[in-house]
């Protein structure tokens, strides 16, 4: 890991310890509040990967993925907020410097819909966007029924009727569109998701690390049949295996140079790995794992929800297969 990335890791860890750890459960229950949004902004996390000429900190790719990883380890919702802003919203708003300025100054939080799926959902209605991720803003970015990416202006209403499966800290709202403007073709969103592969892998691996941290701690202290859980092979062997897999993926994630195709491979592996790890971490907490207060169930929910939100297995696997065969593959 280079010096800039190591510095980033230490400072995010410190921020997480001083600020996020105690707040993580509240964020899950009540959303990322204004205070946390301000703290993230003060730390310079939002826009950190934008070039300095555009008001950002010009962070390199590796340092940015370290940032996402360390945040996800404690609060996947906060990591997701930073990832969505930095990797999707800000690049999509390239032609709107005044909006970028608004986001970087904290004038308004970004708002986004989940537009990036395998073509599962198209909005039923381009005037009312349902289930937009984010709590309130005058702006939304959405793919409309014609498949293009739009910037929508309008009003949002917090959706109190539903409790999302994952990333609860982000909240959801319904957005009444008053005016729309094309930001780009659908390919644009696809492209951004592809170039964000490393950060998406980071959030999956940060979630995995967070869940494993808790499971390792718990299995040291919880006793059954007069032994700590770590003394049982099915517990300690499984956690060791998972930790090994994670460390191998982290060594790829945090290497100073990683090829583009490796980023995609890593994202694919990390997506399914995080589901497995978080399931075991919950399981080894027994009944306590099933309660929000213990903080481990959120990693399981977030991992599964994230898979649905920004991970597009068919698109990605076709891309990968085609690269590996050096020929169009995975298409009938």
């Amino acid at each position: 890991m280079n010096e800039q990335a190591a510095l980033m890791r230490d400072s995010v860890k410190e921020f997480a310890k001083q600020y996020l750890v105690d707040k993580a459960t509240t964020i899950e229950r009540e959303g990322i509040g204004k205070d946390t949004l301000a703290a993230i902004l003060n730390q310079g996390f939002i826009g950190s990967n934008l070039p300095e000429s555009k008001g950002g900190a010009g962070l390199d790719k590796l340092s940015h993925s370290v940032l996402i990883f360390e945040l996800a380890r404690v609060s996947p919702s906060v990591a997701m907020h930073v990832l969505l802003q930095n990797d999707l919203v800000l690049p999509l708003l390239e032609s709107k410097p005044e909006l970028i300025k608004g986001i970087l100054s904290g004038e308004f939080p970004g708002v986004y819909i989940n537009p990036m799926m395998d073509g599962f959902i198209k909005p039923e209605n381009d005037h009312l966007l349902k289930g937009v991720i984010g709590s309130s803003s005058k702006y939304a970015i959405a793919i409309h029924s014609d498949g293009k990416v739009y910037l929508d202006y309008g009003k949002s209403e917090i959706d109190n009727d539903s409790k999302p499966l994952g990333m609860r800290g982000l909240g959801t709202c319904n957005f009444n569109v008053e005016k729309s403007e094309v930001l780009g073709e659908k390919d644009l969103a696809d492209h951004l998701l592809l170039v964000s592969s490393l950060d998406i892998a980071s959030i999956f691996l940060g979630i995995s690390q967070g869940a494993l941290d808790l499971a390792m701690e718990y299995t040291k202290v919880r006793k059954t049949f007069e032994h700590p859980l770590k003394d049982y092979e099915p517990v300690s062997f499984r956690l060791s295996e998972l930790m090994s897999e994670l460390e191998i993926m982290k060594s790829a994630l945090f290497s100073d140079s990683i090829e583009e195709i490796m980023m995609l491979m890593l994202k694919n592996q990390a997506a399914s790995f995080s589901r497995k790890v978080t399931r075991y971490a919950l399981q080894f907490h027994g009944g306590y794992g099933y309660l929000e207060d213990f903080g481990v169930e959120k990693f399981y929910r977030d991992s599964v929800a994230l898979n649905a939100m920004i991970y597009r297995p068919t698109v990605d696997k076709r891309f990968l297969a085609t690269k590996l065969y050096s020929d169009k593959s995975g298409f009938l």
Partner: protein, 374 residues
């Protein structure tokens, strides 16, 4: 060999499904899930409409599966007011059966089972709650954790220690089961909130502080509590298998529906997703056959703990597998429909009434002891 249900069971299954489809509407399911509220009205309706039939365990099993298939939280809620009843049926005195069991069966009262403690659930014999004999009553001190119906049941079949084990290596000796009423002095309870799933069910912590329990509330013989509870788990694990298969089948129904609609609308489905569907369907069938085998041993009075643990263990892992895989197949649709509730509900199956690890301990131990499974 015949793998089909008889006509009576087929009719009963249809009746339960019709009941669940009518009563477990999305609105009812969602509200009870979000508000973490127990649906008492559904318990009474299920009872009055003859959905719960204690006299026929096959019906109980199939009824649980059908209800969980429509909504796990509500399905479990409708069938769990009797949780622990088998201990009273098998070992309760006439007094206990008349005063407690009969009232639960008539719907007048609700019950629960208190085994798990804050310090442990898998290690049943490690419990710390102590009952000391004083004249013709016991004085009970301790607590129970994660007890279903904990803040709403009228009484609990509760496992306590009545004497020190005669050998420290045999901690399962000296345990007894007794009926503990909410109304007893020294009883208190707290509701546990913020569960991942099955949020319509009520879960609580029970606290006993110098609680006096009449001697006549002892179930069966003093010192045999551990065996009674293990015997009970061999019955109830079949019903947890039924809950799990209900969840997995419900997930399969919804995923099939999703893919059919996608295909009909001309969208891309792909072989990968179809293969995943096939895998869920295969596991559901395998789990159900295993459950039927365990049930046929048990309901013919030849209980086979190995097969029962296999059925519970495999079915519960199938529920998690099905729900997780369905979320993968359905993507955004899955996280914004009732499938996400099925996903959250599914995970408890691998935890309660013997975790997946505990089931594997039982299975391997029995196999190595040379138990026969035919």
């Amino acid at each position: 060999m015949n793998f089909e249900l008889d006509e009576e069971l087929i009719n009963y299954k249809e009746k339960v499904r019709a009941f669940a489809l009518k009563e477990f509407t999305e609105e009812v399911a969602r509200t009870h899930d979000i508000e973490e509220k127990y649906p008492n009205e559904l318990r009474m309706k299920a009872l009055h409409e003859g959905i719960i039939d204690f006299m026929n365990p096959w019906k109980t099993m199939i009824g649980i599966e059908e209800m969980c298939r429509v909504d796990p939280g509500l399905g479990i809620s409708a069938t769990v007011p009797y949780f622990g009843a088998e201990v009273l049926m098998l070992h309760g005195s006439d007094y206990l059966r008349e005063n407690y069991l009969a009232k639960v069966i008539s719907g007048e009262k609700m019950m629960g089972l208190g085994v798990t403690e804050p310090g442990g659930g898998s290690d049943v014999a490690g419990l710390k709650t102590v009952a000391t004999k004083n004249g013709n009553e016991y004085v009970v001190n301790g607590s129970k954790m994660f007890i279903t119906n904990g803040t709403i049941a009228d009484f609990f079949v509760t496992l306590v220690r009545t004497s020190k084990p005669d050998d420290p290596a045999k901690r399962h000796r000296g345990l007894s089961v007794m009926v503990v009423e909410r109304a007893f002095e020294g009883f208190s309870s707290n509701k546990l909130t913020g569960k991942l799933g099955v949020r319509a069910t009520n879960t609580g912590e029970l606290i006993f502080t110098n609680m006096k329990v009449p001697e006549k509330n002892l179930i069966g013989d003093e010192g045999k509590g551990f065996y009674y509870i293990m015997e009970f788990f061999n019955i109830s694990r079949i019903f947890v298998a039924a809950q799990s298969i209900g969840i997995a089948q419900g997930v399969l129904d919804r995923t099939t529906d999703f893919l059919k609609k996608l295909e009909a609308s001309g969208e891309y489905v792909g072989e990968e997703r179809k293969f995943k569907l096939a895998e869920i369907a295969t596991r559901v069938e395998a789990s159900r056959l295993l459950m039927y085998k365990a049930a046929s041993f048990l309901f013919n009075y030849k209980p086979n703990p190995t097969i029962t643990s296999m059925a519970k263990g495999y079915a519960s892992e199938t529920a998690s597998f099905a729900a997780e895989t369905a979320m993968e197949i359905t993507g955004q649709t899955g996280i914004s429909t009732d499938l996400e509730r099925f996903f959250r509900d599914s995970k408890i199956m691998e935890i309660w009434e013997g975790t997946s690890e505990v089931e594997k301990i039982v299975i391997s131990r029995m196999i190595l002891k040379g138990e026969k499974n035919e």
